[in-house]
């Protein structure tokens, strides 16, 4: 009975060659469906640009924003995309530091999602401005105006948080890509690809020294990126928690937002990975085990979000305040003009994720796909409810009003998904979507005896068992 050494985390991938073949084949010539999707996304970006320029040209009054709902769909979508970004770093950095080796095959796509989601989120504070051409006044640079931004404003903290996050996650992403890009550079025959990969590979030759530096740098950047998972969304939540708007002014906001961000982000990773797995035949790479593990994280963070909802309800009851004037947003959400948004939020974020308690559902990919889409919708509406329902029912009841998003806001919302999709589609065809080098770390090293039939029981000695590897008795092959 021969012994086959298999990866503990990716048992269905057997050989290094398989990884190279499967991953680099994604970079091959795309089909018609790909170009159709890409064209659709580019058209969506056109819609975004058109809506934005219409708004700039005719005035921001074109959006549905009005007294007293000063912040609407734009800030909602901003928080939504920042939230989406978080799970990528969670998977690539935190799980790396915790040595959760199952992350090796999924982290690249998740990290790309992070970078593109931050790029999408970063558009919205600018779109939201009354005078968007002056957005750079928020940047702290020694200017001829001799003025620093106001460091007491949470909006300025936001600028720092988002730009730091974009820089660190993009650097981390580009760094992790280097060995794979070098492999793609050596494999490709297309001249422009060769040129692109040569630049991005930064002269990687795969020498031991380079690997040593690479691993150090990767570890340090992972350590640097880890606190950002917590801090960035905390800062975003302080945009709200620092003001005295009822429904915003709450100490629970930072942990609540971070949990919500990871909740929605992981849901988005699952939503993206399931079609990629089917289309590119990566069944061996994104196994049900991966989806099971991610679903558990979704369930866990979903419970924290549910706990935050219950805490808000409890606070309203315990403080004994009249909900009409000083209502926490959740009461406004459930009873006011936005009850439908509140209902979508509660059903999608509190009820639907409870299905994930079942292991059968956690491993059923079509079901998971639907559930995660529900979660994404629910998390968008959660931010909508927090921002809009709170502002619409602030301290002066006379001014309470009902906000309806305008067509430009809808165009820009749809366009933001297209913008994200465009980058992600380009990423799939330009860069290796699965980390070849890191995946090989958890695969058994190729050796001659593995191919040969062993006449008798294998010798126990002389077979190194690296981390994440185990020997299994494989009867089918015997």
């Amino acid at each position: 009975m021969p012994t086959v050494i298999r990866s503990e985390t990716h048992p269905e991938i057997q050989k290094y060659e398989d990884v190279n073949r499967d991953v680099l084949s994604i970079l091959g010539r795309p089909g018609r469906a790909y170009y159709l999707l890409l064209a659709l996304c580019i058209a969506g970006v056109g819609l975004l640009a058109f809506s934005f320029f219409a708004q700039v040209y005719l005035g921001i009054g074109l959006a549905g924003l009005m007294n007293p709902v000063m912040w609407g769909v734009y800030i909602t979508t901003f928080v939504f995309w920042v939230g989406i970004a978080h799970s990528g770093t969670l998977i690539s950095a935190i799980l790396f530091l915790f040595r959760a080796r199952w992350r090796q095959s999924i982290y690249r796509a998740a990290e790309a999602m992070t970078v593109f989601a931050v790029m999408t989120a970063g558009l919205f504070p600018i779109i939201h401005l009354g005078r968007p051409q002056l957005f750079y006044w928020l940047m702290p640079y020694p200017n001829q105006r001799e003025l620093w931004p106001n460091f007491t404003s949470p909006l300025v903290w936001d600028v720092f948080a988002i730009s730091t996050y974009l820089i660190v996650s993009a650097t981390f992403f580009a760094l992790g890509l280097i060995p794979d890009i070098a492999a793609a550079r050596d494999a490709t025959t297309v001249p422009w690809r060769k040129r692109l990969y040569t630049v991005l590979a930064l002269g990687w030759r795969g020498s031991g020294r380079q690997w040593l530096h690479f691993n150090r740098a990767y570890l340090y950047l992972a350590a640097l990126a880890t606190p950002l998972v917590i801090s960035v969304h905390s800062v975003v939540s302080w945009d709200f928690a620092m003001s005295i708007v009822p429904g915003w002014h709450s100490t629970i906001f930072a942990p609540y937002f971070v949990a919500g961000a990871i909740f929605s982000g992981l849901a988005m990773v699952i939503t993206l990975l399931i079609p990629i797995r089917t289309i590119f035949g990566l069944e061996a790479y994104f196994t049900p085990r991966h989806f099971d593990a991610m679903s558990k994280l979704v369930l866990f963070t979903g419970i924290i979000v549910l706990y935050a909802y219950l805490t808000e309800l409890f606070m309203v009851w315990y403080s004994g305040r009249s909900y009409k004037l000083e209502g926490q947003y959740i009461i406004a959400a459930l009873t006011g003009n936005y009850w439908w948004a509140g209902a979508i939020m509660l059903i999608c974020n509190a009820v639907v994720p409870q299905l994930l308690w079942s292991k059968k559902i956690r491993r059923n990919l079509p079901a998971l796909f639907v559930i995660t889409i529900f979660i994404n919708i629910g998390m968008w509406f959660e931010r909508y409810v927090i921002i809009v329902a709170s502002l619409a029912r602030e301290y002066m009841p006379w001014q309470w009003n009902v906000y309806k998003p305008g067509w430009v806001e809808m165009g820009i919302l749809v366009g933001s998904f297209a913008w994200f999709g465009m980058w992600f589609l380009l990423f799939l065809r330009l860069l290796p979507a699965v980390s070849v080098a890191e995946l090989k770390e958890v695969l058994p090293a190729p050796r001659r005896w593995g191919r040969l039939r062993q006449p008798s029981a294998p010798r126990d000695t002389g077979i190194p068992q690296g981390p994440g590897q185990r020997r299994v008795e494989d009867e089918e092959e015997g």
Partner: protein, 303 residues
């Protein structure tokens, strides 16, 4: 490509490029006045924050703005940059027993402060409330009937120029600040329009220009202050400044002057002989939503 052809291509490209640049130039095909206005607007764009300007810079920007008003609107305006006077802290008191809801103050405010006529922006709201209790839940500021209505009283709100203004620390670009005489002002050329101050203000005292504000040329008030009623741009926040262009010259704000019942009392809180001090010392006064610790410099009192 040989050297001669390369040079010829480059020369051609340079010529075409300069033609293109000339065609796109903001000054092409403009009249003399238009040309001057565009140059002035370009210079305006690079000026500093008002709080940091030297006296010469203030004079220069006022010159530019006054000239622009002449060129663009054909009106001679006067933009003052009068600073806060030492020993002055403005305060306001509103007599809810006297106010009858005529809203002359609203009208005067619109005229004085060049408020947008297209969207009907008002700094002042007069609420009609039922007698007996101050219940803002049932306050109505859009009443259209004969006033004073039976069994009702009136309460006006505007910017309260809080001593602890929640709107100021949230501004990301320092476009709004509190002057030494207590007036919270906005530098309209500095505001980027994020509307955080509006979300932060619990009294909804700030107004946003959703589009270019429309003020008919003959109704434009030419007596202006840089931080007060000079014409605003699209996409910036504005607010009541206790008519800074009047109060800093020793005059009453337009609303106080227009009030036919004498319900509005305005004055210097630091002057022990002022009427506002007399009201504060001798009347029962209250402020709106004191539990928020905004400390408004705007009191309500009854006879």
């Amino acid at each position: 490509m040989d050297r001669r052809r390369a040079l010829r291509t480059m020369a051609g490209a340079a010529a075409a490029g300069s033609q293109l640049a000339a065609a796109c130039s903001p000054l092409s095909g403009a009249t003399e006045g238009e040309r001057e206005a565009r140059v002035l607007e370009w210079e305006e764009y690079f000026k500093g924050n008002f709080a940091l300007m030297s006296d010469e810079e203030k004079a220069a920007t006022v010159r530019r703005l006054e000239r622009l008003a002449q060129l663009r609107r054909g009106i001679d305006t006067h933009i003052s940059t009068t600073e806060a006077q030492p020993g002055v802290l403005f305060g306001y008191a509103f007599n809810i027993s006297k106010c009858m809801g005529f809203r002359n103050c609203v009208e005067a405010c619109v005229q004085e402060n060049n408020l947008d006529r297209a969207t009907g922006t008002h700094y002042i709201r007069i609420f009609e409330l039922e007698d007996g209790v101050i219940n803002l839940d049932y306050a109505d500021a859009t009443f259209h009937h004969q006033v004073p209505a039976q069994g009702h009283f009136y309460l006006g709100t505007q910017c309260f120029q809080c001593a602890n203004p929640p709107c100021v620390p949230v501004c990301p670009v320092r476009a709004t600040w509190q002057e030494p005489d207590g007036i919270v002002v906005v530098d309209y050329d500095w505001c980027i329009g994020c509307r955080y101050c509006m979300a932060a203000c619990p009294y909804w005292a700030r107004r946003f220009n959703w589009a270019e504000p429309q003020v008919p040329g003959d109704e434009l008030n030419p007596n202006q202050h840089y931080l007060g009623n000079r014409p605003r741009k699209s996409g910036v926040v504005e607010k009541c400044t206790y008519c800074i262009q009047r109060s800093r010259e020793g005059r009453l704000p337009a609303c106080a002057e227009a009030c036919p019942t004498g319900a509005r009392v305005f004055g210097n809180l630091l002057d022990p002989d002022s009427e506002i001090r007399w009201v504060l010392e001798n009347k029962r006064v209250f402020r709106l939503k004191e539990d928020l610790y905004t400390q408004p410099r705007f009191w309500y009192f009854t006879d």
